[in-house]
């Protein structure tokens, strides 16, 4: 700023901000989280590629639970209400969030959708994100935990290729393990090795929504999380040979 003659020349003024770029989203997410916690609802952000089996997992979860927990969901998709229809048919009250061109859910989309729902009646509420291993990773929605659904057919190198998604997740559900025998060269050990290279404390479960293998362990995790007793230790199960 010109101090000497007061000529009024444009002058520079530095303003310290030191704020997260996503501060606006974080603020709404904190609001969502406070509501979920106050209502005693376990909110889980379910992420994964298109076709990884997120919706099939929720359908199978409802079957496996057999009414032990009340479920609810919102599901994000660019178009159609298909996931919402499937979830409702599986007995999970749910609403679709059509994002049009947006590649992820954000806290405001979730907040506005919750306003039209009876979400407080759920024990566990799933935020089924848009199928995408990139963008959803950085948007807090107010969830208690991030879960990544990765199907064995996507290949064991996906954690290495999408490290941000896996670094930020609390649990990986490795799905479609019934297909492993049909995938030459693809092994469970290769997935586990990849998890360890992007997650310092990998927690994962292998399961099949089709055959039901691994589903009891997943339900145990849900019940423990709901009771606030989920282990922070590495969580692994071996597949029956």
């Amino acid at each position: 700023m010109c101090e000497s003659c007061g000529c009024g020349d444009p002058a520079l003024m530095p303003v310290d901000v030191h704020e997260r770029l996503l501060a606006g989203n974080d603020h709404v997410a904190a609001h969502n989280r406070a509501h979920f916690q106050a209502a005693g609802v376990l909110a889980l952000n379910l992420m994964g590629s298109p076709g990884a089996g997120k919706t099939a997992l929720l359908e199978a979860t409802a079957r496996e639970l057999g009414g032990r927990l009340r479920l609810g969901a919102v599901s994000g998709d660019l178009a159609t209400d298909r996931d919402g229809e499937r979830l409702r048919a599986a007995g999970i009250p749910s609403r679709t969030i059509q994002t049009n061109s947006s590649c992820h859910l954000d806290a405001t989309l979730v907040h506005d959708t919750l306003h039209g729902m009876d979400w407080q009646r759920s024990d566990v509420f799933f935020l089924e994100n848009v199928g995408n291993l990139v963008c959803p990773a950085i948007y807090d929605l107010g969830q208690a935990a991030n879960i990544v659904v990765l199907s064995v057919t996507e290949g064991e190198d996906k954690p290495l290729k999408y490290p941000v998604m896996f670094k930020n997740c609390d649990l990986v559900l490795l799905t479609k393990v019934d297909l492993l025998p049909h995938l030459p060269g693809v092994t469970l050990d290769a997935f586990v090795d990849a998890f360890g290279r992007v997650m310092p404390e990998p927690r994962w479960l292998a399961l099949s929504a089709l055959t039901g293998v691994g589903m009891p362990e997943w339900v145990q995790w849900l019940l423990a999380m709901r009771a606030g007793q989920a282990s922070k230790k590495p969580l692994r199960i071996r597949l029956p040979s």
Partner: protein, 116 residues
Amino acid sequence: MHELSLAQGVVRRTVVAAQEAKAKAVRRIFLRIGELAGVDGRQLTSAFEVVRGGTICDGAVLDIEFVAASWSCPTCAVAIESGAPLRCPTCGIAAQLAKDADALSILRIELEVDGV
């Protein structure tokens, strides 16, 4: 392409700062982006150049500080080699990510104001 909505966020935040300071223009916006922030700096810059049009940010430059991802042992501080398992080869405990390796922040904004 979440960079577009992030660029809009940069513009919104900067407009607020500029209004508060009664600035005439915005010269430069300093960001810090970590390698594991999940955001591409070049895409963010391209998006910013689109969305700044018609706002006080028109003509402003994004100055992005990049922070590389590195992991090390929180106990013995040994560095984990890139691509290696994230566990200390000596202590066996979980590695720790370097500070700001997942940062996604606006640090500072340089505004042009009327001289006194």
